[in-house]
Symmetry: C2
């Protein structure tokens, strides 16, 4: 029999949904408590304050998502292109999935827009390892002879594709009729293929530019 969820658990789960949907600042403590069926004082009792609850939500969503969408297994060394392709596919899959894990990209989307005070520490703790490995794969693909700055820029360009896809997708969901919306999301796999092509094509063109210029 399912042990019924404690107030603390209900708070985290309600909060993860609402924070992801509306961002840190737009969600009120009252709202979370109501969604969790708890009293207004519950957040402060169980978590001290709102920002601490937010941190716990990150923990919760990251654990969830690391389990469902682990990084590609290591063919970084042997075939960086394949690794990067798989990385993108996995990200896009998560963005468009319907279960709880899709809340993580949602939350990241919010956090990107209006970084909270905890931003840096959260980033360092949860995102840095992935960041390093993507960097490594890109260097494998377009190096050697690429400078640190060129690598950083290529990395930024590469990441911007799926991050922005996420932005567009979130905009779709909030029904806001604004720029950078996505087309109706027919088939995520097909969409992923196109983004993959753009990303790899871009990286290879970058490599060519660097090598020809260098000569």
């Amino acid at each position: 029999m399912g042990k019924k969820r404690t107030t603390k658990e209900r708070l985290i789960q309600a909060a993860s949904q609402i924070f992801a949907e509306k961002g840190y600042r737009d969600t009120t403590v009252a709202e979370i408590c109501e969604a969790a069926g708890a009293n207004i004082a519950a957040v402060n009792y169980h978590f001290g304050d709102k920002s601490n609850l937010y941190r716990q939500v990150w923990e919760y969503l990251f654990a969830l998502s690391a389990a469902e969408y682990p990084l590609p297994t290591d063919l970084i060394e042997t075939d960086p292109e394949a690794w990067l392709r798989q990385f993108i596919r996995s990200r896009i899959e998560q963005i468009f999935c319907t279960g709880t894990p899709h809340r993580l990209p949602q939350l990241l989307h919010r956090e990107m827009g209006e970084p909270t005070e905890m931003h840096e520490s959260l980033f360092e703790k949860h995102l840095l390892p992935t960041h390093e490995r993507v960097s490594q794969a890109i260097r494998q693909l377009i190096g050697p002879g690429v400078s640190e700055n060129q690598l950083k820029l290529a990395h930024l360009n590469f990441m911007s594709l799926h991050i922005f896809l996420n932005v567009g997708h979130q905009k779709n969901k909030t029904s806001c009729q604004c720029r950078h919306r996505l087309p109706s999301t027919e088939n995520p796999a097909e969409l992923a293929r196109q983004v993959e092509a753009f990303a790899i094509g871009g990286l290879l063109a970058t490599r060519d530019l660097i090598h020809n210029t260098g000569k």
Copy 2:
């Protein structure tokens, strides 16, 4: 001799700086008034309310920027690649310029993160025309035979590159040590060349994918 600026002008100018630096929600009316050397009630007297001042700031920055960074002249039809390259270069130049016009990308960056209520109408009024022309150029380059959805996605991918570059650049300036920062901005022109290469390379790879798949 310079006629001295009216309170209204001082408000708009102070506001354009502060809104661009901190975003709509994080800037207080009091702050703007102080920077403009005006009384706390000045904003409401001259503009009715904060949101209206914000709208005027958009007008102001768009007019400024349209004068300094007009869209490339029309070789869209004849050479879309060259047009797109020039478009990117011009954007990047504006992002890294030091005069007042760089506040526009800054403001757009903020607006993207936390859209205000006016977002859609502002977008429609100021950004839509450019949007249409970029779309047209991309279609020239990778069409024909590209579906509406494929075009939208390619457009999104294309735009994401310099928009995200802007994000990274803004992060640099706010001294926040977080992800997606740019390397120290040595030479914007060189940087622009690399982004150009990535963008065009990505679009061409997209074209190839679509054509081969279609066959």
